[in-house]
Amino acid sequence: MASSPRNSYSEPPIIEQVITEFFAKSLHIILESRSPYVSSRNYSLDHFASSPSSSCSSSSSRPRDKWFNLALRGCPAALENFDLWRQSNLEPLVVDVLLVRRSSTMDVTRLSPGGCLLRNPSGKDRFPMSPRQDELGTRSEKIIERWIVQYESRKNSSCGKEMYLGSRKSSSVSSHSSEIPTLYKKTYKRTIVMLRSLYLFVRLLPAYKLFRELNSSGRIHPLSLSHRINFFIDPFTRVEDAEMNQFSFVPIDTPCGRLCLCVSYLPTLEDVSSEPSTPLSTQFIMDYVGSPTTDPFKRFQSLSSAGLARRHSWSNDHGGMPSGSPSPSPTYSDSQAMHYNPNVRLPPRHQHDQPPSAISIPHNASGARKKNTSFEDYLSSPFLPTSSPSTPIHFHGGRLPNSLLRFGSAPVSIPSSRHGRNSGLLDQAQPPSSSKPTRPGYSSQTDLCRAQNTSASQTSSPEGKLRTKKDPLSSGDFQTGISLAKAFSFGKDEVGTLPGLKCSSTCIPFSRSSSRLSLLDGFDDSEFDYPFADDEDTTESCNRLELSEGKDQVGLNLETRGLVPVPRSPDAVIGALVRMLNTAPPLQQDLSNSVRSSQVFRDKAWIPRIQHKEDMEAEVEKSESPVSSSGITATGLPKPRTTADALAELRSYKETKELLLKQGGSQSSDDDCKDKSADGDSSQC
């Protein structure tokens, strides 16, 4: 009632829901354009095209899209944080956007959300996205924007709509029902407009430019963006206040209060481009795949050979594909090449694989996700402006949505394991002592991974697998769905007991992970279902992944071969071989000579003629994996081949392989065995 301490109750339920959703949407809009990795511009087309064909799979993300008629990218960060906020009885929601500066990009020591220091030998793990305010020597942070979303309740006595209250008291249903829709529509319409202007406004502020630069460039910057969410307003210092500009959106009146939204922001930010950064150089790629930036075929080649290593890149690009924003990153250009090259159909498969990997990294997400879904379920019948307001929705309930099961199926562990593998490959490609430049997007994912893992106070072991297994929050929670609740209740408790809690440390990892999930969610296309479905039975072991993929597509074997468990990491083997190829000048000469003998055959068989060296590389890869003898070559172009062709090729490969092995000496001794087996296989065909 009006006298309830919960001012939320003083509004008609339907308006209360509008208010609640307004908070959610505002948070979503802000974080979508500040929290790395969820830039909407990269998203638009795919999602839009797929969403109208509403399948059940998308149902969980769509209801929220309808709120305020503004469909946004999934941003679990927002949803997670919002879920925490929702328990705070319409407290102000304060979003601080932080500019974080690291003193060094190499061998970074960072503060985990849990407050423990993590040593990062690989350099791939990033600092948590929701850092605490504490400052270490290695990093400093500064608030560059503060968004305050607030519901100001009028004194109950002055609650403007006495008519409404009166009708409520006297249970005069008729006047009640006639009044509310009008109020509702009015409030709703204004809120729509306000949120649209917010959507534009966040993109006009300097932080957006920074966000874009940090997100899109292929460089590691000492700067990064982070955010922190509070449920109370922590006043600025005088200095901070002085340098901030203010903008207040015109408050929207509701029957018993008003909705306020304002922002304080720094009018000028440091120019990121002027900052020293570690380039993600092409060398990095070249070390194991040649130069991917020039020759399209080479690019392709590099993709197939480095498929595993690229997974993360792809997942990053996943969001960025449609727009194809320019990025100096070689990986990025590769992915673009893939998109534009109709011949390249294998890599897309990878792309589909990507989402799960990206998603799964934050295991806590499972908990978050469940929460999100259930929440969205509540909203399954969002009010459209024209819809009947007669069905107030109650948020507080324990209903477990079906969608939970679906999300539960999302593989948590896979990404981690991949991550681990990648690190293996990367380590091969680059000396561990050097910094590991990764792209910002990628880093953000790893950050999450790290952040989550840190909750279990794990060390920064490069083995994602191990970490994931140990992580209490992440492991197995998905399947049961129970531990999820636990994880969440944990978060709730924290909020409940510590009203001033800075939730960033706990919720960000959630949100991040869930953002990926929901993003995928948006893609109701069956193609995106694939990864999920596949991952459903996937546990943390790579073997399983390999099996399932193998079932679905033999052609994928080439790419997935890296997943086959071998005594030595396949990636490492590839890396070693490729490095050997690149660094052995005489070998190249010999190679071309030896291959020349079979030139005629090969010219027929391999229509797009590729440099010998590349063929060799491809072959090396093939030989490692017996399965790869299917029609798919390293270039991904299936070709009809006769037995004679195959034999001729085989011969030439053998020759070159022997040369190679001679050159490589003991380095590739274990490859030799595999090689032979591969040769044996192919000679039988």
Binding site: S39, S44, F48, D65, K66, Y199, L200, V250, S325
Partner: protein, 219 residues
């Protein structure tokens, strides 16, 4: 019914910038008036470091492009002028048939946006400046075009903020959201006759004489 009017700050644009500037402004306005379900698209300007938002509707985009084409054609014929584009939103009211007319569709305008562009020819513009500044050539011209560009960019930002402020302050006049298919309120874009050429020239000169500060001062 009185329509709300928003007169946007005049922008001094070179011919090649017209399209981008108009896209930016028109889409921004319509984005705020497309209250149907939209999936917004952030668009980066090509010439400016500005990201604006489109409502992601092909119809809207097509209509805007058509109007921009029309406007550009017009300015090609009459360069160095001030022009105005009006974006108007209206409601459709079906008038009851009377004894002398059948059902008539009436447009009730509830909002007008005036976009003011001063299309300049950068070369002649440069000349006029140099007449005053006398000597500097090539380098100076480059510098000037850079500063002019920066000034324009910040002016566009101002216009966008102006739009944001307006839509936030004026909400009461919005009609109820149309149930029909279109995601936006019905609207029309009209290209208004530009100011008279001689008059425009005079004001131009006058403005220049009054304009003591360098354009970059604006930013």
């Amino acid at each position: 019914m009185n329509a709300e009017v928003c007169e946007l700050k005049e922008l001094e644009v070179a011919h090649f910038e017209i399209r981008e500037v108009l896209r930016c402004i028109l889409h921004t306005i319509i984005f705020h008036r497309a209250l149907g379900l939209i999936r917004p698209k952030g668009i980066d300007c090509e010439h400016f470091e500005i990201t604006y938002v489109q409502c992601g509707d092909a119809e809207v985009e097509k209509k805007i492009e058509e109007k921009i084409d029309e406007f550009i054609n017009k300015t090609e014929k009459h360069p160095n002028r001030k022009s105005q584009i009006c974006l108007s939103f209206y409601e459709i009211k079906n008038k009851q048939s009377t004894w002398f007319s059948n059902n008539k569709v009436e447009r009730l305008y509830w909002e007008h946006w005036y976009i003011n562009l001063h299309v300049i020819n950068p070369k002649s513009h440069g000349k006029s400046h140099h007449n005053k500044a006398t000597t500097d050539l090539g380098g100076g011209a480059l510098e000037e075009s850079t500063s002019r560009h920066a000034a324009l960019e910040s002016s566009i930002r101002e216009v966008l903020f102006q739009i944001i402020r307006f839509v936030n302050e004026k909400k009461d006049h919005l009609p109820s959201i149309p149930i029909q298919e279109g995601i936006s309120f019905p609207y029309e874009i009209t290209i208004l006759s530009s100011s008279d050429s001689p008059f425009g020239w005079h004001t131009d000169v006058l403005k220049r004489m009054l304009q003591t500060g360098h354009p970059t001062m604006i930013s």
